[in-house]
């Protein structure tokens, strides 16, 4: 359940931002989570309330944008959608595809007051 650590890291980034921008409350947090990345959106949602309780992000709404996976197929010489990290190319079906998108794990933006 490293999603707990990830939410803790989000709080640390928000604290950084609070020092720079000065706000007292976070109303909403938007994350971008790649489908081929290390975090499970449901697990992030599951622990979010407990981990943010008593912090600057207490009561904030969590929005997660799921970023689809994509990769470069060296046989087709083009970018193709990727459902799993080790999938074969959807078009040619034989070549291994190098992941080019879908591994993000980013704090994109937040609403504060």
């Amino acid at each position: 359940m490293h999603e707990i650590s990830l939410v803790e890291s989000v709080i640390a980034l928000i604290e950084d931002e609070r020092r720079k921008q000065g706000f007292s409350r976070v109303r909403a947090i938007r994350l971008k989570v790649g489908r081929l990345g290390h975090a499970e959106p449901e697990a992030l949602r599951f622990c979010f309330e407990a981990v943010t309780s008593g912090t600057i992000a207490d009561g904030a709404k969590l929005e997660i944008e799921s970023v689809p996976g994509a990769g470069w197929c060296s046989a087709c010489r083009r970018t193709v959608p990727l459902e799993e990290r080790f999938s074969a190319c959807l078009h040619c079906g034989k070549s291994y595809v190098r992941v080019t998108a879908g591994t993000e794990l980013r704090l994109a933006e937040m609403e504060v007051e």
Partner: protein
Amino acid sequence: MCTVCGCGISVDAEHSNNPGHAPGKSSHDHSHPHSPGHHHHEHDHLPHSHDDHEHDHQHDRTAGLLDFGNGRAGVHIAGMGQERTISIERDILSKNDAFAATNRVRLQNARVFALNLVSSPGSGKTSLLVRTITDLKDKWPIAVIEGDQQTSRDADRIRATGAPAVQINTGKGCHLDAHMVGHALDRLSIQSGSLLFVENVGNLVCPAAFDLGEAHKVVVLSVTEGEDKPLKYPDMFAAADLMLLNKSDLLPHLDFDVSACLAAAQRVNPRIRSLTVSARTGEGLAAFYSWIEERAYAVADPVP
């Protein structure tokens, strides 16, 4: 993380604005403010300055033990401001990655070659390390950082070989992070030119995401596990540069398909190298030592 309620954080860049709490055994010399909804206050509150982050993680259980099970709670900020949207676009792991970069520079400056050993529990990581240290200690200075949720059993086994070892206890934590390893490096009397083995918490999922500052991740898989583990836990095998297929001495008693396992690992990570070894009999370990030394010579120094 707090072992009482599960709240709190384990990674904090400056130790300056995340006051902590110290239930029980830790002697962090800082207290924490009381925030709404945080309900256990049975610990002593000591006066402290938030500007002073010279606290030294003096835990009083055992020398060489860092316990991150006793963490910090949150903060509460009073006051009101105007509502607005702030664009941030920062990697959530950026704090950990910054600590990892610091560790990496520190290791390079000390000419230390570091490997991060990851696996599920029971794959034989510690036995493999004990054997490796025994076989290589006359040739290289070696140090070890051990990660487990509880106990210093593994570090005790390592110290019995004569190598210095620091045990990190993660409490409820399921992985080591770069901040913990930085503190372990503070504690470890590590000789310049050493090989450093970091044995991560036995867990085939979470440690994949956390760079510790190592040169390479080495994933250990034992033949008593399924040969399809690389497909079921692809993140870890994608993050590793070497797979050690351990307990090969048991192969005659099992239906484990070695070539299917190697193919599965290659499918997830076409660049991964694989070696079949037995920490018990020593089979295949010469190849593992060669793999280490080919890379370590560029960084560390063998014993003259």
